[in-house]
């Protein structure tokens, strides 16, 4: 109950959406800030309060609640998902022939953005050294793909046809035309998970009779920080759980108006002894539009807030890895970062 909650507790746990701004946005639960509170880090308290609830988990998307953690750490997970979980993507394009109207560099860029279904955990990063990575790649760090296609007239087309789909063969180049050329023992290692583009229907170029593409591509392991094509997610975001509290009973016409101020499903109208009374049933689905503040007689009746430690995560995968695997990988990346600096601290090179 926000109405009866002590003011300090509200400052510590809620971001309040007011008429002219948002209050208590920052974390302030640090030692010494509040008399009577012990804010030093305590692993037991954290483990007791921390909770994850999976709301939805599908092939390429998931939603889950992460409760009882600070925004700094939740945001680290989100940022890592976007920019630091590695994937395989086309990095080098060797164009032996391109007579299509798509310029070489544009074609190379388009190819780079095609998501490649290959488990990045089974590959190594290529050496950063410029000379060593010039052309050669080995089976542990490179996937070779080929796109070799030529457009021609369809001999079986009807004479008076004007439909390109009937007139020509291979005039649309799709991602399904990209074929995998295994290097070394890759054919055996990836026998049960053939490497190919995630989607078969990505249009790469359009050709006319006589035009052709002859291309070899090298995929390497990389992270989204380097180029967005390496990002494993279509999007990864979180929002804070909204909390809507009615400070006094809202009845009759006002109740109906209040209901329309919020997203569908947030406010329900109940019949109490013949009068319609508004009740908050599901504040989670609210978009926090703050429409209610435009109504002078309603704005002081309702309190809008968000729980600062309740994160509703949405992760949409590009299809290379399942979303739950992406989240676990992201958490592992953060742990690796910490370990890197811990070992550096203990090494004698830092004075």
């Amino acid at each position: 109950m926000a109405a009866t909650m002590s003011n300090v507790e509200e400052i510590r746990t809620r971001a309040v959406l007011g008429e002219f701004g948002v209050k208590n946005v920052h974390s302030s639960d640090f030692p010494g800030n509040y008399p009577g509170y012990d804010d030093t880090w305590n692993m037991q308290t954290f483990q007791k309060n921390f909770r994850i609830d999976i709301v939805n988990l599908e092939e390429n998307s998931m939603e889950f609640d992460m409760v009882g953690i600070d925004a700094a750490i939740a945001n680290a997970f989100r940022r890592i998902l976007l920019a630091e979980v590695p994937t395989m993507a086309i990095e080098k394009v060797f164009i032996y022939n391109n007579t299509s109207i798509v310029q070489d560099e544009v074609l190379a860029h388009r190819l780079g953005l095609v998501p490649i279904k290959a488990d990045p955990r089974l590959f190594e990063y290529r050496d950063a050294g410029e000379e060593s990575a010039e052309e050669q790649g080995s089976e542990i760090d490179t996937i070779q793909l080929q796109l070799k296609i030529k457009c021609s007239r369809n001999p079986r087309a009807t004479k008076d046809s004007s439909d390109p789909r009937e007139l020509y063969l291979n005039h649309m180049v799709y991602s399904s035309d990209i074929t995998w050329v295994p290097i070394g023992n890759q054919a055996d290692v990836f026998a049960d998970s053939v490497i190919r583009p995630v989607h078969d229907d990505i249009l790469i170029a359009q050709l006319r009779p006589g035009q052709e593409l002859d291309i070899i591509m090298h995929c390497v392991k990389g992270i989204g920080q380097d180029h967005a094509k390496f990002s494993p997610v279509a999007t990864a975001s979180y929002r804070l759980l909204p909390e809507i509290t009615l400070l006094e009973p809202v009845e009759g016409e006002k109740a109906e108006r209040l209901k329309r101020c919020f997203s569908r499903g947030v406010i329900d109208i109940e019949d109490v002894n013949g009068t319609n009374v508004a009740k908050v049933v599901n504040s989670r689905v609210d978009t926090c539009s703050r429409e209610v503040i435009r109504h002078d007689d309603l704005k002081n009746v309702v309190k809008l807030a968000r729980l600062r430690d309740h994160f509703i995560f949405t992760v949409e995968s590009t299809g290379i890895l399942p979303p739950d695997v992406l989240v676990t990988e992201a958490i592992k990346v953060l742990m690796t970062k910490c370990q890197r600096f811990l070992s550096e601290l203990d090494s004698p090179s830092v004075e």
């Binding site: 974390s27 640090f30 030692p31 010494g32 804010d39 030093t40 880090w41 692993m43 954290f46 483990q47 921390f50 909770r51 994850i52 609830d53 999976i54 988990l57 889950f64 992460m66 953690i69 600070d70 700094a72 750490i73 945001n75 680290a76 997970f77 940022r79 890592i80 920019a83 630091e84 739950d324 989240v327 676990t328 958490i331 592992k332 953060l334 742990m335 970062k337 910490c338 370990q339 890197r340 600096f341 811990l342 550096e344 601290l345 090179s349 830092v350 004075e351």
Partner: protein, 114 residues
Amino acid sequence: MAAEGEKKPVLEMVQADGGDEGCVTFVLHNEDHTLGNSLRYMIMKTVDVDFCGYTITHPSESKINFRIQTRGGVPATEPLRRGLRDLTEVSQHVLNTFQARVDEFKERQEQPMD
């Protein structure tokens, strides 16, 4: 100072001349808000820490200056080490919880099929 030349430094320590070891700026190479802010939060949760903050030196440089000032003569490396350990522990707990919940969710989804 970390070795210069061939190998790129990961972590450097910068101290003012005559300053005590409780006031140190750590230079974390190849890091940004991701580690900077979460580590700052963990370190600010420590009692001995007087100040903890970080800056990104320049958008085109991939390093952060991470400043720690402690009280009572505690060396600044101590809260940094503790912060990194705590953050690892937190991540481990989040990972375990997440995997447990995902497994539960997948089991629950399979059951109604029977």
